[in-house]
Structure formats: C-alpha cells, structure tokens
Amino acid sequence: MINKQPVGAHYGWKDWMLQRVTAVVMVAFTIVILGFFMLHGSVSHAEWQQLFQNQLVRILALLFFLATFYHAWIGVRDVLMDYIKPLWVRLSLQVLVCLFLIVCSIWTVSILWGN
C-alpha cells in the first residue's frame, strides 16, 4: 500500500532542511567572494578570467549557483503556495519556475566551462 499523506508531520521536512543547508553554502561562498573584492579592489579582465580558469573555483562557483537555484525553487514554490490559490495557475507557474531554474543550471555550466 502506498500511503502518501499530503499533510501532517514530517512531510516537507527535507525541503526545510535543504533550504537551510543551501543557505549556509551560499553564506560561506558570499564571505569568500566579498572578502576577495574588499581586499583586491578593482580586478582586471585578465585576473578575472584567470580566477575562473582554476578548476576548484569553477566547481565551488557551480556549487554556489546550484545551491542558489534549489534555494530559490523552494522559496518561490512556498510563496506561490501561499498566494496563488487556483490549482492550475499555481501548477503552471511552478512548472515555469522549475524550467527556468533548470535552464539557469545548464547555462551556468556552459558559462563556467565553455570559455
């Protein structure tokens, strides 16, 4: 028997947890980036490009963006659930948000590894 309860304790706790985990990832990355710019001041194009030639920087940047996109998905989905009541409108918007974030993920990979 499949018992999928739409409400009740534990339903959605993984999203709740992931919202916090992705937030911590973003805060860590923000401190590094902000620190880099606060210390470094203005950056030349060559330095900027060189920074993203580093494989570790690319991977960390990708991690940051994926965390951001997942975080945005959970957040926007919750906002839509609170304010958009007609089910088909809500569902359509959620699908659009989801597709947009998937496109952003692919786009990010192409930016980081495509140059």
Binding site: R20, A23, V24, V27, T30, F37, M38, H45, W48, Q49, F52, T68, F69, A72, G75, V76, V79, V97, C104, W107, T108, I111, N115
Partner: protein
C-alpha cells in the same frame, strides 16, 4: 518589526529570483567571454543610476541574508521569546542597511 523583516524576506527573495539570478549570469558570461564585454560592464558600473540599482540589490541580498540567519537561530530556539525576537528583528533591519552602506562606500 518581525512582520516587516518577514515580508521583506519574501519580497527580496522573489525579486532576487526574478532579476538578480539572470543578471548575475549575464554579467558573469559577458565579463568572462571577452575583454570588450568586461569593459562594457565596467562602463555600466560607473553609471550612477546603475550603481543605485545595484545598491538596491545589495540591500535585498544583505537583508535576505541577515533575516535568514535570524530564522536559523530561531530554528535552534534561540531568541524565540517576544522581547529578544523583536530586538533581533531590529538588528536585522539595521544590519542590512549598514552592510549596504559599507559596500556602497567601497564601490564609490
């Protein structure tokens, strides 16, 4: 105050989803692609209007970040009573503005 922090958290979150995510990717793409693209954005950033809009996003980001930290602490049952919750809401609002001013000073 906690209500204000909460609604700002939502508004800034949705605004960053709609505008800051695509904007960040576009900037990252064009600045990495070529020196000309890099110079174009450098020119935009020297524009006063662009700087002001950018500071708006910096505030949105900072407010969202500090409000988020407050929620993480509330999750850990830190400061859940009425008085500390109101005080921390005030701290979040001020911290967001102060952080924005610091970045603005660094940018100008």
């Amino acid at each position: 105050m906690p209500g204000l922090v909460s609604i700002f958290h939502r508004i800034t979150g949705v605004a960053m989803f709609l505008f800051l995510i695509p904007l960040t990717l576009i900037i990252l793409q064009t600045t990495l692609q070529s020196e000309a693209g890099f110079a174009v954005w450098q020119g935009y950033f020297n524009n006063l209007l662009v700087k002001l809009i950018l500071m708006g996003f910096v505030w949105a980001f900072m407010h969202h970040l500090f409000a988020g930290i407050r929620y993480l602490l509330l999750d850990l049952h830190i400061g859940v009573n009425k008085e500390p919750a109101q005080a921390s809401a005030k701290v979040v609002l001020i911290a967001g503005l102060v952080a924005t001013v610091i970045v603005a000073v660094r940018v100008w």
